[in-house]
Each structure stands twice: as C-alpha cells, then as structure tokens.
C-alpha cells in the first residue's frame, strides 16, 4: 500500500475536522482561541489521530464515528507540548521549527491555552455523536482520560523531569518514562479506535499489543533520531537530549542495540496483527515506517 498517500489523506481529514471542532480564532477571548489554534496547526504529524482512525478501520468501523476522538487525541497531545515547552518545564523556544506557544502569546496565555485544549478534548468526546452507543463513548473517555493523567502521560512527564540531569537513570525508570510519557497516548489512540470501530475482546487485546510495541519502538526511534538526525530534519536541535542530560535508550544500551530493539518491537507489532485481514494494512505500514522515518 501507499503509506505516504494514506497519511496525507488522513491528515487532511483530521485537519479539516480540527478546523471545524475548534472554537473559531475570532471568537472571544480571541487571544486564547488564537493561541490554541496556533499550536494545533503548527505542523504536527497527526500520529495519534491517524493511529486511532487506522485502528477503527482495521476492525471494520466507520471513520466518521472515530473522527471526534481522533481530534481529541491531537488536542491532548498539543496541550502537553505547550505545557512541556514552558520556561518552568523544558524551556523550549522552538518546536517543529516555529516559536513555541509561550514565545508568541506569553506564558499565562500558553498555560491557559493548554488547559483549554485538554478540556476541549473532553467537550468533543462527550458531544452528541450520531449513532454511537453511549456506553462505548464512556469507555473511550475513560481510556483517554486515564492515559492522559497522573498514571499516564502527566506521570511520565513528571518522572522525565525529575530524571533530567541525573546520571544514574536505570532501565526501569527509562521504561516508565517511555510507556507513560508517549506510550500511554499511543495505546489510548489505538484502543479508542478499536472500541469505536466495534472490536471484540480478542481484536481489542491484539491491537493493545500492537500499540504497546509501536509506542516503545516510536520512542526508541525518536531517541536514535536525536543522535543521528540533523537539526534541519528534526526541526529542533539535534543532540538536544544528550546536551540536556536526558536519559535515552542509546545512552543506556548503545546505538546499535537500540536500533535492534526497535526492529524487534516492529516485528512484535506485526505479529499481533497476524489474524487481521487487509484492512489492517495501514497499521502494518505505520509500524514499519516508525523505524525508517527521518524526523
């Protein structure tokens, strides 16, 4: 299959839906809505929404029923980036080659824009959906909220922050950071897509195994890219993890072992998809792409 074409199509679908679902940039308070939109439309790759839609398709679901949840995932991801970039946190001036939210709108607005995007996700998830069973929608909200909270993404960010500059981070801590900070939202994206697509218990479990494997592969590949990529390709400073004393997979087990581990995880993800038919082709292609990408 043509993954590039697939990703392009799905990104357009997600971007159009985000455009529709987000408050208009002129709606009051305009500075707040402008700030929310600035970061949502700052060139993200829409990894989480695409995974959610692809998981929904893989179990034979309707794309339209999954689109609000896909956009909700992107809003949550974007809010986490806005807050992570704040001076009190990672203090980043650039993100994807653009000035970070607080550099453009100021710290206070950036904090509120992040808060509002997180909240907007739950507004969207609880909206009147056409035909979706309320019980399934509650399950999706719970899945996504749990993955985003103190036992998920925020917990991962907390431990990542506490670990910075320490030179004795072990694999257990690094693994906690990976599975929580990035893994949790990837897992929730795939599982939410599966629920909305009407997955049975068996396919739901298989997709969970797929998600956990690619979530970790994605993070290891990110760490590898930070070592091997160029600043131009990454849209941020190459080697920034190392400069900052961040614990990374290559720093703990070496570059080659990291690459091997990422490849193994892709294979685990593909094996989990064994019982699925051709509707899982996009998920398979995404798994393989993760370790080949350059940014």
């Amino acid at each position: 299959m043509d993954l590039k074409q697939y990703l392009k199509q799905k990104c357009e679908l997600v971007d159009q839906a985000l455009e529709r679902f987000l408050p208009h940039g002129k709606e009051l308070p305009a500075s707040l809505h402008g700030s929310m939109r600035y970061s949502v439309f700052a060139g993200g790759k829409r990894v989480r929404p695409v995974l959610l839609l692809a998981a929904c398709e893989a179990v034979g679901g309707e794309l339209n029923s999954a689109l609000p949840a896909a956009c909700a995932m992107e809003m949550i991801h974007t809010y986490s980036l806005i807050h992570d970039d704040l001076p009190a946190m990672d203090n980043d001036d650039f993100r994807r080659g653009n000035p970070t939210n607080h550099k453009v709108y100021g710290e206070a607005t950036a904090i509120l824009a992040g808060d509002a995007l997180l909240t907007e996700a739950f507004i969207l998830l609880s909206c009147n959906g056409e035909g979706m069973e309320p019980g399934a929608r509650l399950r999706v909200i719970h899945e996504i909220a749990h993955a985003s909270g103190s036992r998920g993404m925020v917990g991962g960010q907390m431990v990542d922050m506490e670990s910075e500059g320490k030179h004795d981070i072990d694999m257990a801590t690094l693994s906690y950071i990976h599975t929580h900070k990035t893994g949790a939202l990837i897992r929730a994206s795939v599982r939410a897509g599966a629920i909305l697509g009407g997955a049975n218990e068996e396919t739901f479990d298989a997709l969970t195994r797929y998600a956990d494997a690619i979530g970790l592969a994605f993070q290891i590949a990110d760490d590898v890219l930070d070592v091997e990529g160029t600043t131009e390709e990454l849209g941020k400073d190459a080697g920034s993890d190392q400069a900052r004393g961040k614990a990374t997979y290559p720093a703990l087990v070496g570059l080659e072992a990291s690459k091997r581990r990422a490849e193994e995880l892709v294979q685990i993800a593909l094996n989990a998809l064994e019982p699925f038919d051709e509707r899982a082709e996009p998920l398979r292609a995404i798994a393989s792409y993760i370790v080949k990408r350059k940014s």
Copy 2:
C-alpha cells in the same frame, strides 16, 4: 434547617470521597500525587460539590450517584486555583492562609498537578458508575467540560487577566468575567446534580436560573468581602483586588448598590425554587448564606 450542620456533613462526605478517589500520596510519581493532594486538602469550602449534592437531593436523587461528579467539580476548581496562583498568572504566594502549590512543590510540578487534577476529574466522571444511565453520564461530562473550557472558566480567567490594571473595564466585561470565571462552574455543579438526580426539563431549567443567580451573587459578595473583610477572616490580603487594579462590582457601581444587587439575586434564586418542596431547603439556605458569609 441547620445549614452549618448540613454543610459540615456534606463536606465530610466529599472529603472522604476525595480521599478515596484521588491517587494515594505514596503512589508514583509521589511528588505529583502529593502535590495534587496538597491543594485538594488545603481547606476549601467545597461550595461546588455541596451545590451539586444539594441539587441532586432537591430533585429526589440518590447522593451516592452524585458523589463522583461532586468530587470531580472540586478537582477542577482546585486545578484552576493552582494554575491561577502561578507566577506567570496571579503570582500568589498564599491561598487560604497556606503557601500556594508552586511555593511548596515548584512551578513545574504545580503546572503538572493542575493538569493531572483536571484530567482526574474526567477519569472519575467516566468511571463505571453503579446504575447510572450512560446517556445521563455523558450529558454530565459535557456540561462540566463545557463549563470548564475556553467558553467557560478558562475563558473567564483569560479575560480577567487581560483586564487587570485597565481602568476602563465596563459592566459587560465584568459580567463576562463573573459569569465565566466563577459562574460557569457553579451553574455546571447545580445542573450536573440535577441531571444525576433525574430532573425533568422544567426543574432543570428552574435550577439553572437558581444557579445563575447565586453564581453572580456569590461573586459580588466576594468583591464586597474583599473591600469589607479583614485579612484574618479572608485568609488572603484584604483589599487585594483593589491593590491589583482588578475590576470589581463595588468599583463599578459602588458598595451599597453592590450589596443591594446581591440581595436581589438571592431573591431571584429563591423565586426559582418556589415550585420545589422541602427537599430544596438546603439550596434555599445556601442562597441566603452567600451574602451573609464573612469569608
């Protein structure tokens, strides 16, 4: 009825439930969970949860079915205080006589604790509730999310922040701040309680009118207290609104007119409750208490 006794009972119920629903302070990441708990248990008056429970009771609902939503409201209120107190926002060192979250845990943790509390509210709201109809629970989530977001509380905070220090704030802007920054959560509390208690359309509308009236009365009374109260009574600096150049009701229409307006609003709230039986007594007592309180 004995309001003091009623408030004490309900506060204990809410505190016990919060204790149960919040992640344990020793659960990893312990600093994050400790920080969340620090602010939740920093002596709040539990106004929103009590209103939610009282509204549920007023329409003949079961308290237990409303307790998770009551706690969720308090988590959202607490998160908003943590973020409002941040140096980039109001830069407050004390809240209710205690050091603010970021003074104890640092800015980064305070930001994340706020994020996690907001998320925790939606985890709780989407949990398996016993016997509650999923459609009603989705409606409650939507109500609360909408009230908390950019068209609700966060929007109010944004406009409040933008208005600070300006000397030409008009009544329209002040009214926007009041109805959004504090009014939206009070309205959502009452309406969520009504939905969970099984209100019909008519009682739901009456309770909405009640909520809007006491929400505004509450805010005007707060502004009046800031002028008339002592620092000791308030647990924060008296006159701090004025010192900061905040737009307030007394500053715009004068102290006496403000007090009269608050009294009128209490009357509007009581009128809205006219068709209700004795189960609405707590709501009536709360309305009257709002303009009499000293802190």
